[in-house]
Symmetry: C2
Subunit: 425 residues, 2 copies
């Protein structure tokens, strides 16, 4: 990585502590990613992005801000990036996937907080994540108890706007969500001084739909008999989608897809032929949380899709591009965003439909249900999911695990037994 | 207790398992309650209610149902009893305070669920609580992640209506809550066949305000230098308020207050003169969760008030009795119910104001912050409460504890040290 000390200093980063993080990531990434055989050439772009993870893009954001643009940090796929981009601002997904941030997080949130929220807390208050420090405003949402309370802590450190997501999906909840989107638009206008017009929203919708289409195309390649890309590479691409420049990301991902489609033509895959095909469902995986994919794919399995926020939930639904007025846009955005089926809703039976549908579409052999400790809603839904999948004769295993590697051996053993079971079906 | 086997059988109670519960409660109650010295005479009514806990009132509810009335079970102080009573139905608060129900609860909710929710789950699915089995409908609300998901489980067993409580308190949230109250009214009309008129709502408001006034009067007596009633007796009275017949409860509690006020005139208190006065803040305590009060009051402390749902949150705000139309009633009820400051809201700074105000009103010497394990929102608020109380020079100690008695000794030791500290202030 180039020397970004000056940049980081300008962002008020705790350099000494941050160096510890920078020191471990390359080796960690190398072990998990670079030892894969037969990787697509085009993954080099994403390797570069990771090698420059707190550098190149952070510099871009700093340059944007010098030009008067704003940067907004988000934590959830319910927050409409269309609004942010239409206000001429950049959106960066800020969830945090390393236990490195937990000691600092525990200074401001209870110990028994889910690793994702605790890491995000630590990343902000410990001054060790330049993305957090690049934001002119954060955007929270009321999706779960832990996040709901986290925003109160964050408000002590930085400007934050909270979108009030309903717990239900009735007609009035759709209307309320339109209202939240309108409020968010007004807040963005206030922050940026840029008027968010219907035309600008149409442009940002097109830009972000193109990104979604590229990801859809990528995931399409995972449906074939022997996918041309590993699950962990696909996960990395989606993770990077949350903070990369959207136009560049789309271009690079389409280049990757060109290569993958050629591989498919040539019958070139990355897995052993008999590898059990795994659909992961559950909580999002933020960089560098590659743990579950790595264990699965070094235990003989092939991850073919993720029913998660860092998977199909992020891009499977496009935004209708026909809106011509602001009111149209609010309605269309509300409809599209509330289509996503998160465990924060009650009831949330459509998530089960999604899992069953994806299992079939991706010709999966089994489902791994992934939760983080203290994630109440996803843990609670396991029972209903399991019962529904049993009716469809779909095997499922529940893996609850935090960011630590201590339980990796145990998870591996359980997964190997699961793969053997579904192999003998 | 009289023989209620027939009644329980008619309610489909698991008699054998239920007998185990009935076998332990009297001794448990005896140890905690009957060994107190100098108790008010009028506590005999509440002793009777507990001795008949799954009998007398359950029989009353059964008799009501025979007469065509409906019984509705609730779990939260945000659910407006006014609507239930105006529909000629009975409301019973159903939270569950014993670990007896946990093994059954763990069959349907994750192990790491808060003891209150887990106990409620077990009480229903294990068929060991005749109150649950007496209900024609349950009413849930979206106050926390664990309850939100519990309703989905409950829906498999019994009719349930869920009220969508917002996570915020802006103008639009008040309006939405009016809408939820209207929907609830319509659902109650459907259930009972009784039209809920403005007039009936005025009557039920009066009835329930009278109950609140009796509880306010009770709590008023705890403000004097040496309160005439113990904290645990006051807690018991409030706990019983949730499911007793409202008119009778009001009458009996006013009788208790007559006696307490005489005691005050005579300078008769139940505590040692130097007992540190404790304000408890935090999560609700459902019968038979008397653990914290018992430990405090057998360690030299005096509980003088509870900033909890089984304390002042339940009755401190009356409902304005001036409404004359249905729309008036919805608005007045929404305003009154949203005044309550639960940790499920973001932000919830008014709770801090409540704690500080109550601390002063009750001339408390210290605050005990009580949380149950896995209660994310109350655990998260501790930090802000502690910081705010420090500014006011108010000592606070955090006690997180489940329903088990294993940690009672450890809590006692910590509290004794806390009392010593605040005694030396």
């Amino acid at each position: 990585m180039a020397d970004y000390k000056e940049l980081w200093t300008s962002l008020d980063i705790d350099l000494e502590k941050h160096d510890q993080l920078c020191a471990v990531l390359p080796e960690f990434y190398g072990e998990i990613y670079m030892q894969q055989e037969n990787r697509p050439e085009a993954m080099n772009y994403y390797n570069f992005v990771v090698s420059e993870i707190h550098g190149y893009r952070v510099q871009e954001l700093a340059d944007m801000r010098k030009d008067g643009k704003k940067v907004v940090g988000t934590f959830c796929v319910y927050v409409p990036d269309e609004i942010i981009v239409a206000a001429n601002a950049a959106s960066v997904g800020l969830c945090a996937g390393s236990e490195f941030w937990h000691p600092d997080g525990e200074k401001v949130v209870p110990r028994n907080t889910c690793p994702l929220v605790k890491a995000a807390a630590g990343a902000l208050v410990g001054n060790t994540c330049p993305y957090f420090k690049s934001c002119d405003m954060l955007v929270g949402e009321t999706t779960c108890d832990a996040k709901k309370k986290l925003w109160e802590t964050f408000a002590e450190y930085t400007p934050i706007h909270v979108m009030n997501l309903s717990s239900m999906k009735r007609e009035q909840d759709y209307i309320n969500w339109q209202g939240e989107i309108k409020l968010f638009k007004e807040r963005m206008e206030e922050l940026t001084g840029v008027e968010v017009t219907a035309e600008k929203l149409s442009e940002s919708t097109k830009l972000l739909n193109d990104k979604r289409r590229a990801l859809q195309r990528l995931y399409e390649t995972r449906k074939v008999a022997n996918p041309p890309i590993s699950g962990k590479d696909a996960l990395l691409v989606t993770q990077i989608a949350f903070y990369d420049d959207p136009a560049r990301f789309t271009q690079m991902t389409n280049q990757l897809c060109d290569e993958l489609e050629k591989r498919i033509e040539n019958g070139e895959g990355v897995f052993e032929k008999k590898a059990p095909r795994i659909l992961i469902t559950g909580i999002p995986m933020a960089i560098p949380n590659w743990k579950l994919h790595h264990i699965i794919e070094t235990s003989g399995g092939a991850v073919v899709a993720e029913e998660t926020c860092t998977g199909v939930k992020y891009f499977q639904n496009l935004v209708d591009e026909s809106a011509s007025t602001l009111e149209d846009h609010y309605k269309i955005l509300a409809d599209r965003y509330l289509k996503t089926n998160c465990a924060c809703f009650t009831p949330n039976t459509s998530r089960i439909d999604d899992i069953v549908r994806l299992y079939k579409e991706y010709a999966a052999d089994g489902v791994v249900y992934y939760t983080l400790p203290f994630c109440t809603t996803y843990a609670a839904e396991f029972k209903a999911v399991k019962e529904a999948l049993a009716k469809e004769n779909i095997p499922v295993i529940n893996i609850e695990s935090d960011y630590g590697l201590e339980d990796a051996g145990q998870i591996k053993t359980r997964l190997e037994a699961f793969f053997e079971m579904i192999g003998n079906k």
